[in-house]
């Protein structure tokens, strides 16, 4: 039972809020004389805040197919809307505070940011391949602009260019895969495609389509071997945008990845509560291999980095690899683990980037060498960063450890021991490079020992990001329940 366009609006409130904010920002941009005023930032904060409040206002229940079946309104979508909006909220605060962005047109920047957010909202609820493609592009195109926002800075321009070329290629391959699926099923509805693939015997085209779509989605979550763009983009983009890329589009990418593959190439089995493969295509194995390769490459290359932003870029590739483990298991607990991981990853990763912003604001650099002696120069920021980094490593009592426990647990429960061991070894490797930053901050003696003053707003923000990283490491029951409740995806 599909809802018509007008009836669907009720379930589209966060998107409407973001769209309205974007329009207001455009108007503001036209009428405002002062391009550096903080009004656009504040307006965006209000808009995104409203979107978060509106996201959960209508209980999703069993889910609704809205806009004639183009999108779904279910617990899964609501989860990702709140998550991506929350990430955007932090990134807006980070941006308002960033020295890199000061002096440039503010309103435009926030228009791009919020357009990406709108794209992520749609991506996490899309149930039609046309909608998937459109929303993926709506995420990508403003992202290119964000990456190149530091006009005149060579690295930023290079980043944008790389991003465009890779993005265009990936989405071209993906849409080729979509066309194969459309040919097989005669419908653009993902659920229809799923039924057609389950009934038909066209294994080879289905396999081809599964692989080609994986290219498009793999690019969004920066899985190896579709990750080449990410280190350059992460390094060249303004740091707040980098922080945004490392969590926002990645989370939305996971949303569409799960929803698409679990609907088109698998069906839920009411008897066991699990999913089973329908189309005779063993894509979980493909993605399990991708997962192992992604985390290993991400970690091994991160070891060699001397720029903290680049290091965090590779680390975020590795984290996508960890999360892919949960995706290949075809079990609710596996998806729950991915969702849980995304929540804790949001705080610890944004937190790490926030400290990078603070340091580069003060010192103008982001090399590991710039962090030398931060422990005595800016103790609060340094201790926060250490907490975020150890959380990313997965050491208790920090939230990242719990995230890993859920992932590892379900991998072991489903009997994929080799993957658990690969991931375990990777955690040890990751300690080495995260600890390099910690070593610079606390163990090495700085040449310059002058104190770095961290203003009150970033301090408060860091405290707000540290708090969940600590609390969810000790008491995470509510998050676990939320993640478990959000696994429900609508299939119609």
């Amino acid at each position: 039972m599909f809802l018509g366009n007008l009836d669907s609006l009720r379930y589209f409130l966060p998107e409407i809020a973001v769209t309205a904010t974007i329009l207001l920002l455009v108007v503001l941009h036209v009428v405002s004389k002062n391009r550096e005023s903080s009004a656009p930032g504040v307006l965006s904060l209000v808009g995104v805040g409203a979107a978060i409040l509106l996201a959960g206002i209508v209980p999703p229940g069993a889910g609704k197919a809205i806009f004639e079946g183009m999108a779904a309104y279910d617990a899964f979508a609501v989860f990702f809307k709140v998550l991506t909006a929350l990430a955007t909220l932090v990134v807006i605060l980070m941006s308002m505070d960033s020295r890199e962005l000061a002096g440039r047109s503010q309103a435009e920047y926030y228009v791009f940011l919020l357009s990406t957010l709108l794209g992520m909202f749609l991506l996490s609820s899309a149930t039609d391949i046309v909608m998937v493609y459109l929303s993926l592009e709506l995420v990508s195109i403003p992202s290119y602009l964000l990456a190149g926002y530091l006009k005149g800075k060579e690295k930023s321009t290079e980043a944008a260019m790389k991003y465009v070329v890779y993005g265009a290629t990936a989405s071209g391959v993906m849409i080729y895969g979509f066309s194969l699926l459309f040919g097989l099923a005669g419908s653009t509805q993902v659920a229809e495609i799923g039924r057609a693939l389950a009934a038909g015997k066209a294994v080879l085209p289905a396999l081809l389509a599964a692989v080609m779509v994986a290219v498009g989605f793999g690019y969004k979550i920066a899985a190896v071997p579709f990750h080449m763009w990410s280190p350059d983009v992460y390094e060249g983009s303004p740091t707040p945008a980098t922080a945004f890329f490392s969590i926002g589009p990645k989370a939305a990418g996971f949303a569409v990845l799960v929803r698409f593959y679990y609907t088109a190439f698998a069906a839920s089995d009411p008897a066991t509560g699990m999913w089973r493969l329908t189309a005779d295509v063993d894509w979980p194995l493909l993605f399990a291999a991708l997962s192992a390769v992604t985390m290993t490459v991400g970690n091994l290359v991160a070891v060699q980095q001397s720029n903290v932003k680049r290091l965090l870029a590779y680390s975020s590739i590795a984290h996508a690899g960890y999360m892919l483990m949960g995706f290949v298991l075809l079990s609710p607990a596996g998806i729950q683990a991915v969702l849980f991981y995304l929540v804790v990853y949001l705080f610890m990763n944004l937190g790490a980037f926030y400290v990078v912003v603070v340091v580069s604001n003060a010192l103008g650099g982001e090399d590991i060498a710039d962090f030398t002696g931060l422990g005595s120069r800016a103790p609060f920021a340094a201790v926060s960063l250490a907490i975020f980094l150890f959380a990313l490593t997965g050491i208790p009592p920090f939230s990242g450890f719990i995230g890993k426990v859920y992932l590892f647990a379900e991998v072991l429960n489903r009997g994929v021991y080799w993957l658990a061991i690969v991931a375990g070894l990777n955690s040890v490797v990751s300690l080495y490079y995260y600890a390099r930053i910690v070593r610079a901050m606390f163990l090495a003696d700085p040449k310059d020992t002058s104190a770095i003053l961290v203003p009150a707003v970033p301090r408060a923000m860091l405290a707000l990001l540290v708090a969940p990283t600590l609390i969810f490491g000790v008491y995470w029951e509510p998050v676990a329940r939320l993640a478990a409740d959000s696994v429900r995806m609508l299939v119609f």
């Binding site: 150890f390 208790p396 072991l412 955690s427 070593r439």
Partner: protein, 509 residues
């Protein structure tokens, strides 16, 4: 006293953490205030430990029977995956809890000489104490693991910031080694979780006591190959901590670079966690594999004894020599445990307790001379006995205890290990006993080079050991002597539990 008695283990665990929090609130520059807060925060757990000593009922065994544990606290922590906050003490954990409380307090006093970033040092040290207490008090595997890992962070910083010249290398090496072992443990922990059931609820469980009931294991977990792999996963994790040859290479670096008080804790408490983990977790959960693996364990133990002693003899650095002597002494623990006889097992536990005190003394003593002479070369001294007689007395006591002189605690432990394991591994025990010759040799040789012979004129005015240092050493020296002639109180403490442990393992054959 009601509240204190019913939460005594939690208080012992978290009072230091509270102290650390208080220390962080002390304004800059008040280093003495920080020192005394730290002393208080570690003294209170020591007082509670004394209370434990008197309140503990030595007749019940614990080990695998929930209602025989004492000072139990059990609350649901994360209900959706059945993680519990479950603490309790029995004869396996009691000596370790007492040792941890004592050494932590003495180490804080011993750290009063630290001048660099006192606040951070004391806060991290107290966090470390929380982790150590928690490990010995936990009966829930998840809780155990969290505490086990919580210790890594402060240890990394304590070595890395306050250590010697190669501190950074030593700190990260320690961290990486231990994390590798921990990850293996985590994988086993999660596999155990999914393959055991709580008999009361039918759900999965992290409760160690449920794991010990073999009928709670799933069919998959009953397969011998699986059990061997899981046992080995845990074993490597624990062996790295002990450390057993060939996983010992982090130890000389970490011990030598760490500041004195941290070496004391490393050797005195942290190493024991490896053998404690074997007793508390590996043996009772996998008794069949334990029997299958007993001979390799005994061989590793003997390798440790002999190899550690030979390495110690080859050292020119006094601290490195003491570090390798730990490798050698921990070998006795493993040999005694592998014998799976009551006497051997009690000997192993006794060795853990006794070595904890002796090695703490040794590291304190090395610290004393290093603070004055600023080097630790064994050949760089000579004839110190004439200059610093009290210091020489303490060193002699510690060295003789360490080499197993009758009348001191080391002798009791080592003899029990040999007695307990002789019937089981004759050849190995004979080799191990020969290792004692090397142990004696390197001690006596070092003693001779440093304290006897002609006086090195450079040290003619060496300062005698001071009151604070004596305060740290005297209790340990006294205990080593008391336990050496009258070991019954300590033996009674652990006897019932360790006999039960041996019975539990033997029951499967």
């Amino acid at each position: 006293m009601g509240f204190i008695d019913s939460h005594i283990l939690s208080l012992m665990t978290f009072l230091p953490l509270l102290g650390a929090a208080v220390i962080l609130c002390v304004p800059k520059g008040k280093d003495d205030v920080v020192r005394w807060i730290a002393a208080a925060a570690s003294f209170l757990p020591l007082m509670l430990a004394v209370r434990l000593w008197f309140a503990y009922d030595r007749t019940v065994a614990g080990v695998n029977v929930a209602n025989q544990f004492q000072f139990v606290e059990q609350y649901s922590w994360i209900p959706s995956i059945n993680v519990e906050y479950f603490m309790g003490a029995d004869g396996i954990s009691m000596p370790m809890l007492l040792l941890t409380a004592l050494l932590s307090f003495l180490a804080v006093i011993g750290s009063f000489g630290i001048e660099k970033k006192v606040k951070g040092y004391m806060a991290l040290f107290l966090l470390l104490e929380t982790g150590m207490m928690g490990v010995f008090a936990s009966l829930d595997f998840f809780l155990f693991y969290v505490f086990w890992e919580v210790m890594l962070l402060p240890m990394y910083f304590l070595i890395g910031i306050w250590g010697g010249p190669r501190k950074e290398y030593a700190a990260i090496k320690f961290f990486l080694y231990t994390l590798l072992g921990s990850i293996l443990m985590l994988i086993v922990l999660l596999a155990l979780y999914f393959n055991t059931t709580n008999p009361e609820t039918g759900g999965h469980t992290f409760n160690l006591l449920h794991y010990m009931a073999q009928n709670s294991h799933s069919a998959w977990l009953k397969g011998f190959d699986v059990r061997v792999l899981m046992f080995l996963g845990l074993f490597i994790g624990f062996a790295i901590k002990v450390p057993l040859f060939p996983f010992h290479t982090w130890l000389p670096d970490a011990h030598v670079e760490a500041p004195t008080a941290i070496s004391v804790i490393l050797a005195g408490v942290l190493l024991k966690m490896g053998t404690y983990g074997l007793m508390r977790i590996s043996f009772p959960i996998f008794p069949d594999v334990t029997i299958w693996f007993a001979v390799p364990m005994a061989v590793l133990g003997v390798i440790n004894i002999v190899y550690g002693a030979l390495c110690a003899m080859a050292q020119s650095d006094l601290k490195k020599m003491v570090a390798y002597s730990s490798v050698s002494h921990m070998g006795f623990c493993l040999l005694g445990m592998a014998a799976l006889t009551p006497v051997g097992m009690v000997g192993a536990a006794m060795q853990m307790f006794s070595h904890g005190m002796i090695t703490a003394m040794l590291f304190f003593l090395v610290g004393v001379v290093y603070d004055r002479a600023h080097h630790r070369q064994i050949d760089g001294f000579g004839g110190l006995g004439a200059v610093v007689p009290i210091y020489t007395g303490f060193v002699s006591l510690a060295f003789f205890a360490s080499l197993g002189l009758p009348g001191l605690s080391g002798f009791i432990a080592e003899q029990m290990v040999f007695l307990g394991s002789f019937e089981v591994f004759r050849t190995l025990v004979i080799i191990g006993a020969l290792g004692i010759i090397f142990v004696a040799a390197f001690h006596l040789w070092a003693l001779q080079r440093v304290f006897l012979g002609p006086l090195n004129p450079k040290y003619a005015t060496l300062e005698e050991i001071n009151a604070r240092e004596i305060f740290c050493l005297a209790p340990l020296g006294l205990l080593v002597m008391i336990v050496g002639v009258w070991p019954m109180p300590v033996l009674n403490l652990m006897n019932a539990s360790l006999v039960r442990l041996v019975d539990l393992v033997k029951a499967v054959s």
